[in-house]
Symmetry: C2
DNA sequence: CCCGATAAATGATCAGTGTTCAATTAAAAT
DNA sequence: ATTTTAATTGAACACTGATCATTTATCGGG
């Protein structure tokens, strides 16, 4: 058939991402299939490849959408929390991963081949999550240490990420660790406290 | 052909792992192929599937071998270091990952399906790496806190792992972080210092 | 109203994958 | 020499990502 008025290019793109996302949630990265996504949306593989011209760009779009949901999840968790916003952040990181295991893992299971590049718009969307953390870390740092917020935030994300990874991939279970989230939070607290102390020394 | 005297079962197994490991190092998890490994060792796919009766068990064997090399790498790095053994540990973690990117990533790219279980021997081999870290962490903790070494070590491995992951998968580059290893070491130092302080308080 | 022009959608086709298993082959036992 | 045993094979199957000539529908102009 030719042009079908029931779906514009943009709509089709969103449809593919939505259905691809659902398929990823159900099957995970290893069993994901572009053909299956095509079936789900009721189009042929050809059409899917017209919109996303290769597998990696499709996965990239789906994973970027996951980042969007993750960002929303974090913001929702933070909204209205007056006291311990750092805890809310760590809990939000973990709970999204726990409630969307396949989705979360797919983000890190996929590695861009060197010949495919990340669209800038995607990189920006992914960066928003970092932005949230940077802002919250900045709040708990003393004035004279605010400039360290970005560096520290990136590192704390990595710390929490490592704990979250081991929690979901079974490494912690194998090691005997039973409360990964609380452990991650403890590490984050220690590093923030150290940063607070550091700057106090320099200010006194 | 029937039984060929040139390779015993055990030898064949080692040959497959060795050649599979080399193939993994060259191509990475996504482009790894059992067929290609069969070609490399000069046997048919059938033979390969007689030794490792599915793909996951083959990858499991290759990745466990990687853990063995990683453990050796860490021990070599630690050997003779009198002063800063914690730094040696973190540097060893990173340098192995950096020098064996595909190999290291494959360990975490592969997820065991629920119906395939990890052989106990493999789990033990993988646990040795943790053992090294636990011992070294115990050394720097005061006597009254030695019992916390295991818990803390697991958490510190996760911390370093998170930083290493972001260093290799491009997340840190995207964020602007340029010295992931030193950053990871800083976090580790803070947490060890906190553990040392904690126990001092309880002992005073 | 019809007819090109344009754009969207198709699916057979290709090269590759993991996996299976009846058939083959070689060695060992009798 | 013959049977038994075990290792090895590779064609076959159902799938995958990717391609692209072909078909199909819509639209603009005569």
């Amino acid at each position: 058939m030719g042009r079908r008025s029931d779906h514009s290019r943009a709509e089709l793109e969103r449809l593919i991402i939505a259905e691809g996302h659902a398929h990823m949630a159900e099957n995970g990265f290893a069993r994901f299939s572009a053909r299956e996504v095509a079936k789900r949306i009721g189009y042929s593989i050809g059409t899917l490849y017209n919109v996303f011209d290769n597998y990696d760009r499709l996965i990239l779009a789906i994973n970027t959408y996951s980042f969007q949901l993750w960002t929303d999840h974090l913001n929702a968790r933070l909204d209205g929390v007056e006291g311990d916003r750092i805890r809310a952040l760590v809990e939000g990181y973990f709970s999204f991963a726990r409630e969307n295991t396949h989705i979360w893992m797919a983000i890190y299971d996929h590695h861009l081949p060197p010949d495919v590049e990340m669209p800038e718009e995607f990189a920006l969307q992914r960066g928003e999550l970092t932005g949230i953390v940077v802002r919250e870390v900045a709040v708990v740092l003393p004035d004279h240490a605010k400039d360290r917020a970005t560096t520290l935030a990136r590192s704390l994300i990595a710390t929490v990420h490592g704990h979250c990874t081991f929690a979901l991939n079974g490494t912690f279970a194998l090691m005997g660790e039973t409360e990964p989230m609380e452990t991650a939070l403890a590490r984050v607290r220690e590093s923030i406290a150290a940063a607070q102390r550091d700057s106090r020394i320099r200010t006194d």
